[in-house]
């Protein structure tokens, strides 16, 4: 069996998710160009500013990666739930739960604790808080058939008000009463060597945690029975049930893991990227993460790159002001990309049509060349190499004919 090549029948290729995502990005940027043109500015100057603002020096690169950190983790959270057929729209609330847990531990744990132990405790504790938050939605879905979209949105607001209450009660900044007291750097995820390397950027250990999580989630989904189990439930709940998989348990596990990932994002956001929490603020990143997951086709590697791409847009837009282009253009581009990603079927059909017509042209060329050679075989009998060679020859033949 080894080394046996499975011969695929000759047929036009299909659009891969990568092509679809890249065309969505392309169309989004094109739309952005159009908008900038409409207000009478130079789109190239605009994009130059965005790239400048996001990547022109180590500090800016660091800030972009710092911003991308949350997006990677939220993207993973949303994608992981997606794979099990669930829509986690509650990443914002889970972020808040992770953030408040981390912030309170940062405030109350002794400063002279060894750093490694301290970090281990906050990471585990805040992930646990998010896991509980996600689990509640999973539990409600499994036991009472409450749709997760409803329960996660509800829990977003529960988390919002918990934070609203906990900040003044436990960790208030005596000077500004609507904010928490800034966390000492030693108790954030920041590291001196990263801060030095990137000229005091917001980048922190969270970025590496995000990379590790990408690998872990990829491993869980692709290599473990747990991943198999969850994917089976996501792909066909009825078949999973029939096969003896405990569907309800899977839903709860999946939501708990998704919640843990999102709350880890909250930790990196409030105790790394920033060092305070504000009362009455729902983090937008929870929703941006949905776009990240969609654009990344729910694969960890895709999410990594799409998060960095969104990070660039979000960090770079600040520099747009100098050109007179409104900074909202970056959000418009993101929104347009989401539209195009959501209509991925249309994009895939476009590419499939293109590939098909090209294939049919080659087929016609191939037939012409075969006729010229007196080759009586059917097209299906040809190997890919033969097909390509004939097609090339046929192209020349047809040109002469004209």
């Amino acid at each position: 069996m080894k080394g046996k090549v499975i011969s695929k029948p000759l047929e036009a290729r299909k659009a891969s998710p990568l092509i679809v995502s890249l065309s969505a990005v392309f169309l989004g940027i094109a739309a952005g160009c159009l908008f900038i043109l409409c207000i009478g500015k130079n789109p190239f100057a605009g994009f130059e500013r965005i790239l400048f603002g996001a990547l022109s020096n180590t500090r800016r690169v660091g800030n972009t990666l710092g911003m991308s950190t949350q997006l990677i983790l939220i993207g993973l959270s949303v994608a992981f739930a997606f794979k099990t057929g669930l829509f986690n729209i509650g990443a914002s609330g889970q972020m808040l739960m992770g953030g408040i847990t981390g912030s309170m531990l940062a405030y109350y744990l002794p400063m002279d604790m060894p750093r490694v132990i301290y970090l281990a405790i906050v990471i585990v504790a805040s992930m646990a808080a998010g896991a509980v938050w996600g689990f509640i939605s999973g539990f409600l879905k499994a036991k009472f058939n409450v749709h997760e979209v409803v329960s996660t949105i509800m829990l977003n607001w529960t988390a919002y008000w918990i934070v609203y209450d906990f900040i003044p009660r436990f960790i208030v900044d005596p000077t500004i009463s609507v904010k928490s007291k800034p966390i000492e750097t030693a108790h954030t995820l920041r590291a001196d060597w990263i801060t030095d390397l990137t000229g005091f950027s917001t980048m922190n250990y969270g970025f590496f945690l995000a990379i590790i999580m990408c690998i872990v989630i990829w491993f869980v989904l692709e290599k473990t029975t747990l991943g198999f189990n969850l994917k089976a439930v996501g792909a066909n709940k009825f078949c999973a049930e029939y096969a003896g998989i405990k569907v309800n348990r899977s839903i709860m596990v999946s939501m708990a893991i998704a919640g843990a990932l999102a709350s880890l994002a909250g930790l990196t956001y409030y105790c790394g990227y920033s060092n305070i929490m504000e009362m009455g603020k729902m983090p937008n990143e929870g929703f941006d993460g949905i776009a990240v997951a969609l654009l990344g086709n729910c694969s960890p590697i895709g999410i990594f790159f799409s998060a960095i791409f969104f990070g660039i847009l979000k960090m770079g837009r600040g520099s747009l002001a100098a050109t007179g282009i409104p900074t909202e253009i970056a959000d418009t581009i993101i929104a347009t990309i989401i539209y195009f990603t959501a209509t991925n079927v249309i994009l895939a059909n476009f590419w499939n049509g293109l590939f098909k017509s090209r294939f049919e042209r080659n087929e016609a060329r191939c037939r012409a060349a075969m006729d010229a050679h007196g080759d009586k075989r059917s097209l299906e009998a040809l190997s890919h190499d033969e097909f390509n060679a004939y097609a090339k020859e046929g192209k020349a033949l047809m040109k002469e004919g004209k």
């Binding site: 047929e11 473990t224 029975t225 189990n229 792909a235 066909n236 078949c239 029939y242």
Partner: protein, 498 residues
């Protein structure tokens, strides 16, 4: 329909097919699944458009863009799945879409319906509500709907799949009446005896090509079958007498709720022994699904017990039952049986991926999974484009079913529950699957077969259990009964009541 050609990506569904139906004729179209019958009819009904060829109705060339055009030309179709609103009356259903103006006159319509019903001896009352009448009557409502719209070319798509033998006879009679009144009927089916009973001529299609147009009266059933499949077929399943062993499955006084919250299975008792096939006969929707779901653990049991190999499994989880050796070929292969978006490899181990050798310590062993899958694919002749890597959804229905049966049999269960194992499959695949089921029996396994096809029940079963209204009507030896007797029992009539 002359020289019709229709291509779909990758296949030619209809290749230069000509179909000529005369006025007042009952014309059958015979072909295996996927032969192109449905495509041809969809073109006639305006659901698809032909790539080549012309359609002529009463000698005039026509272009049928959509079903409304078809209606206007007097073409009507009785679908396999009825298109009726359940809590509406017969008359309301029939005039739907033809109310004529803002205020409709139901009395006038009812009168017309009654007239038509009497003329064709359909015996349908316009005031009855759909959910109160039998499946056979619902079908006649569908027919009435076509007649109400003055259709004179009627297409019947597999009309007998949901009927009891008696209802089938009635339908055949109605078809004859219709044709006597000058209506043309196109009957799509793969059941040869029905063609033999009513049709005058028969167009045989194989793999999208027109094979032959035969005169039914002068052609034998065997010849028609051979034309359809392309080789001689045997209808009888070769099987030795059965040697029942120990009881494998014992169901005692089982009651199960259906999805509407009323008892779908009522006090059902049955014992199935090793080395025995029991066929459960019954009209669709009489508690079969609920019974099977209760045995396999998909549905909660209300009261009663289920014992498997002597163990009480009434309240066990599905996984525990699977582990004890219960195999299940589910009724809906695409909903329950397979994950269509996943490759065959995953599908073949969907029940066992947590066990050795497919995984250890929670990590999957893809090599072992692949080897196991390829073994099943080879042994059960599952044909697919890319071998074990093919997505299950890309396989044809027959190959999907072979994959499921391969998975279930390879797991070596003591009890194999096969629900509608051959539904929608072609003759070749049916032969293969029947052989596998009998082989399982001969290896000393118990087989519980549920089917709506009486032929299948009679061919395979050692004993026949009949279910009606969720109750066991009787259980009889196959050799001591006939289709007529079973048909009566399917209608809920017990032995003494005749």
């Amino acid at each position: 329909m002359l020289g019709i050609r229709k291509e779909f990506p990758g296949i030619v569904a209809n290749d230069d097919i000509t179909l000529q139906v005369e006025e007042g004729e009952i014309h059958a179209i015979l072909g295996e699944n996927g032969a192109g019958k449905s495509t041809l009819m969809s073109i006639l009904f305006g659901l698809y458009h032909a790539d080549k060829g012309v359609i002529k109705v009463r000698g005039k060339e026509v272009h049928i863009k959509d079903p409304n055009d078809a209606f206007d030309l007097g073409i009507g179709m009785v679908h396999q799945h009825f298109q009726l609103v359940h809590n509406f009356t017969v008359a309301e259903n029939i005039i739907m879409g033809k109310e004529g103006g803002f205020v409709y006159d139901i009395k006038k319509a009812s009168k017309k319906i009654k007239e038509i019903s009497e003329r064709y001896r359909l015996s349908i009352e316009p005031d009855m509500v759909i959910e109160d009448i039998t499946v056979g009557m619902q079908q006649r409502v569908e027919i009435l709907k076509m007649l109400y719209r003055d259709a004179d070319i009627l297409i019947f798509d597999e009309p007998t799949a949901v009927l009891t033998p008696q209802e089938i006879d009635e339908l055949m009679e109605i078809m004859r009446n219709l044709s006597a009144e000058g209506k043309s009927i196109i009957l799509i089916t793969h059941k040869l005896d029905e063609i033999k009973k009513v049709a005058k001529r028969c167009t045989v299609i194989r793999r999208g090509k027109l094979i032959d147009v035969v005169d039914v009266a002068s052609t034998s059933v065997e010849d028609m079958a051979a034309a359809m499949v392309g080789r001689p077929v045997s209808f009888k399943v070769d099987k030795s007498p059965c040697h029942p062993g120990d009881p494998i499955l014992e169901i005692e006084n089982l009651s199960v709720m259906n999805s509407k919250g009323v008892l779908g299975v009522k006090g059902f008792s049955l014992t199935l022994h090793a080395g025995e096939i029991i066929g459960l006969a019954g009209v669709d929707g009489n508690g079969q699904s609920e019974l099977i779901e209760a045995i396999t653990g998909l549905r909660k049991v209300e009261s009663g017990t289920i014992r498997f190999n002597g163990k009480d499994i009434t309240h066990m989880s599905i996984a525990e039952r699977n582990d004890l050796g219960l195999g299940h070929i589910p009724e809906d292969r695409q909903k329950r049986g397979l994950i269509l978006s996943a490759p065959l490899t995953s599908n073949m181990v969907i029940k066992e991926f947590t066990k050795s050798p497919f995984s250890s310590h929670g990590l999957l062993d893809y090599l072992a999974i692949r080897e196991y899958s390829e073994n099943i694919i080879e042994k059960f002749d599952v044909r697919s484009g890319e071998g074990a890597d093919s997505l299950a959804g890309k396989l044809s229905g027959g190959n999907q079913q072979k994959a499921i049966i391969g998975r279930e049999i390879t797991a070596d269960p003591d009890l194999l529950i096969a629900v509608q194992p051959t539904r929608g499959l072609d003759v070749g695949a049916i032969e293969f699957i029947h052989k596998q089921l009998v082989e399982e029996r001969d290896r000393g396994k118990a087989v519980f077969l549920v089917s709506f096809e009486l032929d299948e029940i009679f061919n395979l079963s050692d004993k026949i259990a009949v279910i009606s209204g969720g109750e066991l009507i009787d259980i009889v030896d196959t050799t001591e009964t006939d289709e007529h007797a079973v048909g009566l029992m399917m209608a809920g009539i017990r032995k003494g009541e005749r």
